[in-house]
């Protein structure tokens, strides 16, 4: 018993050095050498300033940008406070929020049902993507704001649509930040 207690303490300390110091150091070294971009969070720089991460969603408010999904992370897309809404399916806050969002969105496309992901909050509150359907839904508004044709915008959306990995994993998706960055480059907002 006494010897086993001593072993328990020594074992905890020895393994903590192996798994808490050596393992993460080796891993950090390998990661930083082989995949520096990914290991450092895929930050996107523009004019020397970080504008965001390629895989962390952001809120866009202006009518000339593609909008992301609703977010429950902090006050919306707070990347230091990830969270979902945690609303149950019968929760009135959920039903009222969706009703209000649908009413606002249908002003753009009267009578067209809104793609579900555009009015539901993601689990992380940091979803960088919207579905191709949700992007298509927003094309008329962007075209009007930026004075471009639908087809050019649809082409741009198609360019930023990622397919399923290996042909069967996940869902087709559009990266909102990357799409908006190229949107500003190709079709700048009229001042």
């Amino acid at each position: 018993m006494k010897k086993n207690l001593l072993t328990a303490i020594l074992m905890t300390l020895a393994t903590t050095i192996l798994l808490g110091i050596i393992y993460p150091l080796v891993l950090t070294g390998i990661a930083q050498v082989l995949f520096p971009r990914q290991a450092n969070g895929q930050l996107i720089q523009k004019n020397g300033k970080v504008v965001g991460s390629a895989i962390i969603g952001q809120a866009f408010a202006g009518p000339g940008y593609f909008h992301s999904r609703p977010s429950a992370a902090g006050n919306g897309y707070d990347a230091a406070n990830s969270n979902g809404s945690q609303f149950g399916p019968t929760n009135h806050q959920l039903i009222d929020r969706v009703k209000a969002d649908v009413a606002a969105l249908q002003v753009e496309n009267p009578g067209v049902p809104v793609p579900i992901d555009l009015v539901t909050a993601s689990g992380s509150g940091l979803d960088p993507h919207i579905s191709p359907a949700a992007a298509a839904f927003q094309v008329p508004r962007i075209a009007r704001e930026r004075g471009t044709g639908w087809e050019q915008l649809q082409g741009l959306v198609a360019k930023h649509t990622e397919g399923r990995q290996l042909g069967f994993l996940g869902e087709p998706r559009v990266n909102v930040l990357e799409l908006n960055l190229e949107l500003d480059e190709k079709f700048p907002l009229k001042k």
């Binding site: 020594l10 074992m11 082989l34 992370a73 230091a80 809404s85 869902e171």
Partner: protein, 572 residues
């Protein structure tokens, strides 16, 4: 079910099934001390560890000693983690600007118990509570150690069943060390590099402040995510680096990482059925257990997918139909990149394997979809289950099924050629009664006291009730996922959930190990015409039915008050 989801589910099942045999064989070699390819690297490290921790690897431990070591090690781990958490403010990498939630004694104790029992229930928000030091030296290490200790218990349990008239369970320190060096550490290194390649960060930078193109500011949490991410899955722990866990794009950036992380969870517990079959000398017995697991797993997938894809009937003006351009379904709390298919697969895997790393929010599941996840946990985490613990849970269930069958035909029940006598039965009873005797009273106390009801801030009514039941079921099952709207950081919940975790860990492992030890002391009973073969299809069906009936008998009233009632309120 849409084509791509179906392919994803099938591919998952097929890949796991193909790897059960080679991995099961490898684990058998590791724990029997046979030669393996990693020996040249691992043997010197192993010897060095024994030298500095005063372990004599030749000592065989009887039941009492093995169980004592398991408990002592858990205690040492809990205390070390508690110390690190309480002191994190003066330890390195503490960003006072961001780690704003104080680690109170109750919260630190809850977290320390939670991580040393593989529960990894989180009553805190990772990115604004834990420093990088706590994450790496504290939580990440415990993910390894608690997983390895669980695997050791699983292996000792198998040795007990396979014992020949002697109580030889092995040596806890040796099993734990070999589980770490030969299995978890190499697996974690390879897996983590793969995750980084796909986009999981691995750095110690300060949080990044980004300035968006619309002129707003966004603080982006960073960290050594990959180190924790892989072992939280491989060790069937499940507590995430960030609050959103597997839904966070930094923890689970692509559908491929999702698939790989699920593989990391399931492979070892699934392969352990094969190790079991080999070590008791009857591989068919292992395949039967695996078959039952696969059947229950498949049923869970079908139901959850169906309920989630139908969406929420209370939302109007939306298009939630599955099509080429969207996944559709109930997308509240789910990520676009995973859709219904990837979310369902993850929810069913994590709820079945005592791993809390879900990639969608349980709270926002449809009532019946969420109920399936709850039932998976109430089954006792035996569909693959936790690392090491899943196997003994399934075998204990098989022992109950054998006992029932014995009653039906009026014979002394036998399993693996040994009789299940009164002494063994006592262990089975202790084991089987623990779950309802902990989960139901704790739920009852929570819903009938002001302290308990204070936890319900977002959802109330039947959904709130389900949330509380889910919390205790999850903690007892050492799973750790939960309806996150429940405010579990109050002293009431931190202490009651910690109690459930402790009983769920030690209150199950010790009777199971005791059962195995008793079993190994017996003489073999030669099989006769009247013996029920426990590798037959009929027995598989009996076991499956028995499992479902046991959950129904204990929990049907509670389920009716929660998810079933909520479903009726949904209408249609």
């Amino acid at each position: 079910m849409d084509r791509h989801s179906a392919i994803q589910y099938l591919a998952f099942g097929i890949i796991v099934t193909f790897l059960v045999k080679p991995l099961g064989g490898y684990m058998e070699r590791v724990f029997s001390g046979k030669r393996t390819r990693l020996d040249r690297l691992c043997l010197p490290v192993e010897r060095f560890i024994y030298r500095i921790t005063v372990v004599d690897p030749a000592v065989e431990m009887p039941f009492g000693q093995y169980a004592t070591c398991f408990v002592l090690f858990g205690l040492a781990c809990t205390l070390l983690l508690y110390g690190i958490l309480r002191l994190q403010g003066v330890l390195p990498w503490f960003f006072a600007d961001y780690q704003t939630t104080p680690l109170s004694p109750a919260l630190a104790l809850n977290t320390a118990i939670s991580f040393s029992t593989t529960t990894t229930w989180q009553a805190y928000v990772g990115e604004n509570t834990m420093s990088y030091f706590s994450q790496v030296m504290g939580l990440c290490v415990q993910n390894f150690l608690a997983g390895a200790a669980g695997l050791a218990i699983g292996v000792a349990f198998i040795r007990g069943l396979a014992g020949q008239l002697a109580e030889k369970l092995g040596n806890f320190w040796v099993d734990m060390t070999r589980a770490l060096l030969w299995i978890l550490l190499p697996g974690a290194l390879i897996g983590a590099i793969f995750l980084v390649w796909q986009g999981v960060p691995m750095n110690f930078h300060h949080y990044v402040v980004a300035h968006s193109i619309e002129g707003t500011q966004q603080v982006i949490a960073q960290g050594p995510v990959a180190a924790l991410e892989i072992i939280k899955n491989l060790g069937t722990n499940g507590g995430g680096f960030f609050n959103a866990n597997g839904a966070h794009p930094y923890e689970n950036p692509t559908p491929l990482t999702n698939f790989l992380e699920l593989m990391a969870i399931v492979l070892l517990p699934a392969a352990l059925t094969n190790t079991f079959g080999r070590m008791v000398g009857q591989p068919r017995q292992g395949w039967l257990l695996y078959g039952v697991m696969l059947l229950l797993f498949g049923l869970g997938l079908i139901f959850v997918h169906r309920f989630e894809q139908r969406g929420n009937p209370l939302l109007s003006g939306v298009n939630s139909r599955n099509s080429q351009s969207q996944s559709g379904g109930n997308m509240e709390g789910k990520e676009v990149r995973f859709g219904i298919g990837g979310s369902t697969l993850t929810a069913v895997v994590t709820s079945n394997t005592a791993t809390g790393s879900n990639n969608s929010m349980d709270d926002s599941y449809t009532s019946l979809g969420g109920m399936v996840l709850l039932v998976n946990m109430l089954l006792g985490e035996l569909v693959f289950g936790g690392l090491g613990t899943g196997l003994f849970s399934m075998v204990m269930a098989a022992a109950i099924a054998v006992f029932l069958a014995g009653l039906m035909v009026g014979r002394t029940p036998e399993y693996l050629g040994r009789k299940i006598g009164p002494a063994e039965n006592k262990m089975i009873m202790l084991y089987a009664l623990a779950s309802p005797l902990v989960v139901l009273p704790l739920t009852a106390i929570a819903i009938s006291t002001r302290l308990g009801l204070a936890g319900l801030t977002v959802n109330t009514g039947p959904h709130g009730f389900t949330g509380i039941l889910f919390a205790y079921a999850s903690c007892f099952a050492n799973n750790g996922q939960g309806f996150a709207s429940l405010n579990a950081s109050t002293p009431f919940y931190t202490l009651t959930t910690a109690l459930a975790m402790i009983v769920g860990r030690y209150g199950l492992a010790i009777p199971a190990l005791g059962f195995a030890a008793l079993f190994g002391r017996q003489r073999n009973t030669p099989s006769s015409l009247g013996t029920l073969p426990t590798y037959s299809f009929v027995f598989g069906m009996l076991l499956t039915t028995c499992l479902i009936v046991m959950v129904a008998l204990s929990y049907l009233p509670a389920l009716a008050l929660g998810p079933v009632l909520e479903r009726l309120l949904l209408g249609r």
